[in-house]
Amino acid sequence: MKEIRVLSPTAILGYGFPEESFIEGMRRKPHVIAVDAGSTDPGPYYLGAGYSFTDRNAVKRDLAIMIPAALEAGIPVMIGTAGGSGARPHVEETVDIIKEIASEQSLHFKLVILQSEFEKEFVKEKIRKGDIMPLGPVDELKESDVDESIHIVAQMGEEPFIKALESGANVILAGRSYDPCEFSALAIQQGFDKALAIHMGKILECAAITALPGSGSDCMLGTLREDSFVVEPLNPIRKCTALSVAAHSLYEKSNPYILPGPGGALDLHETKFNQLSDTQVEVSGTKFIPTEEYFVKLEGVRRVGYRTMSPAATHDPIMISQIDTIIEKVRERVIDNFRNSGMKDFYLDFKIYGKKGVMNMFPKTADSTSDELLIIIEAVAPTQEQANTICGFARSTMLHYGYEGRISTAGNLAFPFSPSDCKMGAVYEFNVYHLMRIEDTCEPFPMSFIEF
């Protein structure tokens, strides 16, 4: 094979794509259709709760087009980070969707499933062997962190995908994967340059986000040759420019010159971005620097409690001028009220929009003001019932709190909704974000298959 063409239909499985773009992609006779189905961007909840941030019907719509088209063309479909987070329940949900499609369209094919969720005992054993280290600004991983985790997944490299291809898979559904892998695996298996294959995967995994105008729900094609690769959008309203593709190297990355992944890092110091035509960009010069040992990234979350919140607003200038004091007084009243009721272990927060609500992550940035404030009263407690109690009590206390100089005595808050409080269920936070040294690049990611 002199070149490998990879069709990327959409940035995230379920984000959709115009059928015209997809048909144009199939007309180019791709060797594989690949799609990334997940991200940690939506936060820790989805890994903990075991379901996807993407919509089931939308995921089914995309796969119901991709799978039959690939089978007809005799090429594989490769899906990474199934169900948004890639733990077992996320993979199972996507397997169910694929089963429905196979049955509804009477399709016959081999589905290979690669799991990426680790048993806690395996991770603890790895801690004891000294095979786990922090990734970035986190503490050393303790066995108690592992016990507290709901699911722990690892980002697999391209090797398990290659093994699945070699087993005769028509559709590969993988748990948590390093994003470029499902795009690069076939090319690496066929002996193409690994650096270029992975770099092309890095760009294709975001589909048309790289193009101008950018879109997370439109198709891109990558063509990998011996010394370079070419990326291009498949919708005539978009184009790739040398700048749009170079700028994509920045997106969601720590350092645009060095992009680490399982087994090594891409080095972009010598990378050239060359405008080939109006819509196509050729990329060359990227290097792959292998690490001496093979590391995969672990992700895990723990449950911290249950959340209830109440959005409420004010337009009263006297109230607004005293908002910080009012909040402190309300907080004191809540704590005092439940002091002897066994409810001490809760988190109560007031997010104040109109007064540095967004920028509160950086407390020393400049203050902001507004003639209206939205106050989100938030309670997190060990049970949903306690969270309801704390949030509800804080809300009623704030509604009738007699602050200094008050002249509006009928109620301090404007509620947009009835009921005013919203039960939000379990709350999770990341507690595993580490590297794990592994010897065998496939063995930790067990493979199974279903014949339809």
């Binding site: 940690t40 961007d41 939506p42 936060g43 820790p44 909840y45 990734l135 970035g136 600004p137 986190v138 040398a242 700048l243 170079a246 700028a247 190297s249 920045l250 997106y251 969601e252 990355k253 720590s254 350092n255 645009p256 010159y257 972009l268 990378t271 971005f273 911290v304 988190y347 927060d349 997010k351 609500g357 967004v358 920028m359 509160n360 992550m361 950086f362 407390p363 020393k364 940035t365 400049a366 997190v380 709350v427 999770y428 936070e429 990341f430 974000y433």
Partner: protein, 106 residues
């Protein structure tokens, strides 16, 4: 030496998570000429970045001038992990506004 607001010189100013424990900021300049002048003068630097966000220099992991995209990238420690209690911006996509107000000299 002249003073410029970053919004006069840049076509893109954005922020986003780079994993749950880092925030990354990109400034993409309108033209290469301006970019190279800014780079030459190191007009965006650890010192003025830390000043506007009120963070210590040790919280900056990378400050890179990326020539192919005429861009500056600054990656910092996220004050809290994405989605942890106290979160205000799960995706980290709206932390860029102080950077829009940055004035640089070169």
């Amino acid at each position: 030496m002249a003073k410029y607001k970053l919004t006069e010189l840049a076509s893109v100013i954005r922020s986003k998570n780079s994993g749950p424990y880092e925030l990354t900021f990109d400034v993409i300049f309108k033209d290469f000429e301006t970019f190279y002048k800014v780079k030459e003068a190191q007009a965006i630097n650890k010192q003025n970045f830390c000043e506007i966000y009120g963070i210590p220099e040790s919280d900056i992991f990378h400050l890179v001038y990326f020539d192919p995209a005429k861009a500056v990238k600054v990656t910092i420690r996220r004050p809290i992990a994405s989605g942890a209690l106290g979160e205000t911006d799960v995706y980290g996509a709206q932390q860029h506004a102080p950077l829009m107000a940055l004035e640089i000299e070169f």
